[in-house]
Amino acid sequence: MDDPSRRTLMKAGGATLGAAAFARAMAPITEWAADLSVDEFLQRHYKELTRDEMDAVLRRIEAKTKEEYGADVHVEDVRPTPGVQFAYALNLSVCIGCRRCAKACHEENNHDRATNNSYIRVLEMSNGSLNLEHGTVTYDHEVPAPGKFYMPVQCHQCDNAPCVKVCPVEATWKESDGIVVVDYDWCIGCRYCEAACPYHARRFNWTKPEIPAEEINPEQAYLSNRIRPQGVMEKCTFCLHRTRKGRLPACLEACPTGARVFGNLADPDSEIRWVLENKRVFVLKEDLGTQPRFFYFFDQ
């Protein structure tokens, strides 16, 4: 048809136009990538960081929180205590479904304010059935309602955790004290763990969490309540930044009825041991073989 040089010229023109259009289409991502530091990009897995490297990472997170959220925070790497085995039990006979635990979790763990996220979901169940099909989390009336009982559900810190098994990059694992944690700086955000969890315990950071500076809980830990990056998984850590220092989980402290019992399974005198030995205890979805560290019990 037309002469080769004209055709070549048109091809070159087309290629230039195409490349320009591509660059334009990708423009937002290049700005985003410029914001990502080399240190962050190359950071190793939690278990591979030396003490010094971890210190540098913690200081960087603090500086970044200051820069992006305007809050002075203290981020620690709190390790498990040898010989401690955490477990949690919840008394369904006294829980009134007030959802103060969910609210305390929201505040303690620096959750995104707009979504009102929390690691705890409280199910309102009808007396006479433990079938989750008959439960609802969206109840909106005075509690406790007649004929109902309430079942808060959070991470069960399973000994045979499906979420840990499926993670392709070992970004989530079980610590020696039984707590399942996520390295928020290693997670690739594939959400396979979220699909694998039978208890709806995992959450994804669909957007960058937004919290006003004055509402940020400044006492933070690398593996628990520091403000999570966008695009990674998060979950309940039994408030390890508190519990590993001898304090109780925020949800327990907020509970007005004393329905929650937390402690060290390895301590024969602990309350949790007494509950497990003397109450009629059950775990959720026992047939799945997940071996939860979270137990439910009735008084009567």
């Binding site: 055709r7 091809k11 290629a15 195409g18 259009a21 591509f22 334009r24 289409a25 990708m26 423009a27 937002p28 991502i29 700005e31 985003w32 990538a33 990009f41 897995h45 979901r121 079938n131 989750l132 099909e133 439960g135 609802t136 989390v137 969206t138 499906p162 098994k165 499926v166 993670c167 392709p168 990059v169 070992e170 970004a171 290693w186 997670c187 690739i188 955000g189 594939c190 959400r191 396979y192 979220e194 699909a195 694998a196 969890c197 039978p198 208890y199 709806h200 995992r202 959450r203 994804f204 669909w206 957007t207 960058k208 990056p229 966008q230 695009g231 990674v232 799945l288 073989g289 997940t290």
Partner: protein, 425 residues
């Protein structure tokens, strides 16, 4: 590829290594040269792809919060399309088996179309995974030895291995055969036959592993079924051949490449069996779910009839089943001597049906109801449609260019400088 006995058995001539840049350069020429229809087609695909690229760039910056996914339905459009695309790639093997195991000479001449489809479909599948993950910048964490590769425990690591392996095998086979033909040489069987046979086993593995990804999850009753992997394979052996039946007719119409009726007839014979096998497995699954009843059936109930007044998928799945049944009947009864148009309609219908059934119809009910039995629906939004259609456009770009290159090489329009065989042609 063309039958080998047509090839002159010469191993001298242009140097195999030094001629490679020439091959790439000429391939670039072929890929950017064509008639007006080609330019219109490629410009259209590029434009659609760029819309997707732009939506993806925004999604990367603002997070997957721009999609309709939630913590209740945490996989959606992307993973659904991923699953369907893996099936398409695996289904291409239904040309390789007749060509290489049954020595069907007619199929042998066109089997490269299937192998190029495998490459394009894997490119699509991998793209869908990449747009789904939250931290693309951390993809290197998946590289064995550099990151932390949770193999063999995580099924996702198996999927990484089988999908990239399948891509490499097919790239090698296609690349090797095209390059040898380009040089005017007879391909050395030792360099491609083992890989062809490997690709057959590998094709089954990619869809099996992808099924295991879901079926291994005890907390998701809808997926936790042993029949899932066989269903995946059966549907792949419908979608792959159906796509190739259409592709072969397009190649025949728009190029000088010789495509006879025999390969198409063989594929229709395959479709007669696989379309029925697929429907049978769907039926087996549906029977087990509904006859058993109980809480196990809730997800299937949501898919087929709706649950607690939520029924977003109901019209889709019934349309899909109607399409699959219609196609199966057409494949069984149509008289292909009277023309292929009814077969073509059936192929399009079943491709749509399987896209629903192996796409959103498979993924979403895994999440509805949720593990705590909440019924939260999911309907993909504009961002997800843009990105998804963009990726399919990208796949069609790869497929078109691959076919164009293959046609140019096999019709001897593209050959090495000074190749005696090509001069003759």
């Amino acid at each position: 590829m063309s039958t080998n006995h047509e090839q002159p058995d010469v191993q001298d001539g242009p140097d195999a290594v030094l001629s490679y840049p020439q091959f790439l350069w000429k391939a670039l020429g072929v890929a950017t040269d064509g008639g007006p229809l080609f330019y219109v087609w490629m410009t259209l695909l590029t434009a659609v792809w760029l819309v997707g690229v732009n939506a993806f760039a925004h999604q990367t910056v603002h997070g997957q919060g721009l999609t309709a996914m939630t913590d209740h339905v945490s996989w959606g459009m992307y993973i659904g399309n991923f699953t369907f695309a893996v099936g398409l790639a695996a289904g291409a093997v239904m040309m390789v088996i007749p060509a290489y195991i049954y020595h069907d000479e007619d199929m042998h001449d066109v089997v490269i179309v299937g192998e190029i489809l495998a490459i394009a479909a894997i490119a699509v599948a991998l793209s869908f995974v990449n747009v789904d993950i939250g931290r693309l910048d951390r993809l290197w964490h998946l590289i064995p030895g550099i990151g932390r590769f949770n193999w063999p425990v995580s099924m996702l690591t198996w999927d990484v291995i089988v999908l990239s392996g399948y891509l490499l095998i097919n790239l090698h086979v296609v690349g090797y055969l095209l390059y040898m033909r380009f040089l005017g040489r007879r391909p050395d069987k030792r360099w491609y036959l083992p890989f062809v046979f490997l690709s057959i086993i590998w094709a089954v593995s990619i869809h099996t592993v992808t099924a295991f990804l879901y079926s291994g999850l005890g907390g998701r009753p809808f997926w936790n079924s042993a029949v899932l992997a066989p269903r995946f394979i059966a549907s792949a052996f419908v979608s792959g051949p159906a796509f190739i039946v259409l592709a072969l007719q397009i190649v025949r119409r728009f190029s000088d490449f010789h495509v006879g009726d025999a390969p198409i007839e063989t594929l229709i014979k395959i479709l007669r069996v696989t379309a029925l096998a697929n429907l049978f497995l769907v039926f087996a699954e549906v029977f087990t779910e509904f006859y058993t009843g109980g809480s196990h059936v809730a997800a299937a109930e949501y898919l087929y009839f709706g649950l607690h007044g939520k029924h977003a998928l109901v019209p889709w799945i019934w349309t899909a089943i109607a399409c699959d049944v219609f196609a199966a009947v057409v494949f069984l009864t149509a008289d292909i001597k009277k023309g292929l148009w009814i077969i073509d309609i059936a192929c399009v219908a079943t491709l749509f049906g399987l896209w629903v059934e192996k796409g959103l119809g498979l993924i979403v009910p895994g999440f509805v109801p949720s593990t705590l039995h909440e019924v939260v629906e999911y309907v993909p939004n504009l961002v997800e449609w843009k990105i998804s259609i963009g990726i399919w456009a990208f796949g069609l770009i790869v497929f078109t260019l691959g076919l164009k290159l293959a046609v140019a090489v096999f019709t001897d329009a593209m050959h090495v400088d000074g190749d005696p065989a090509a001069r003759k042609a």
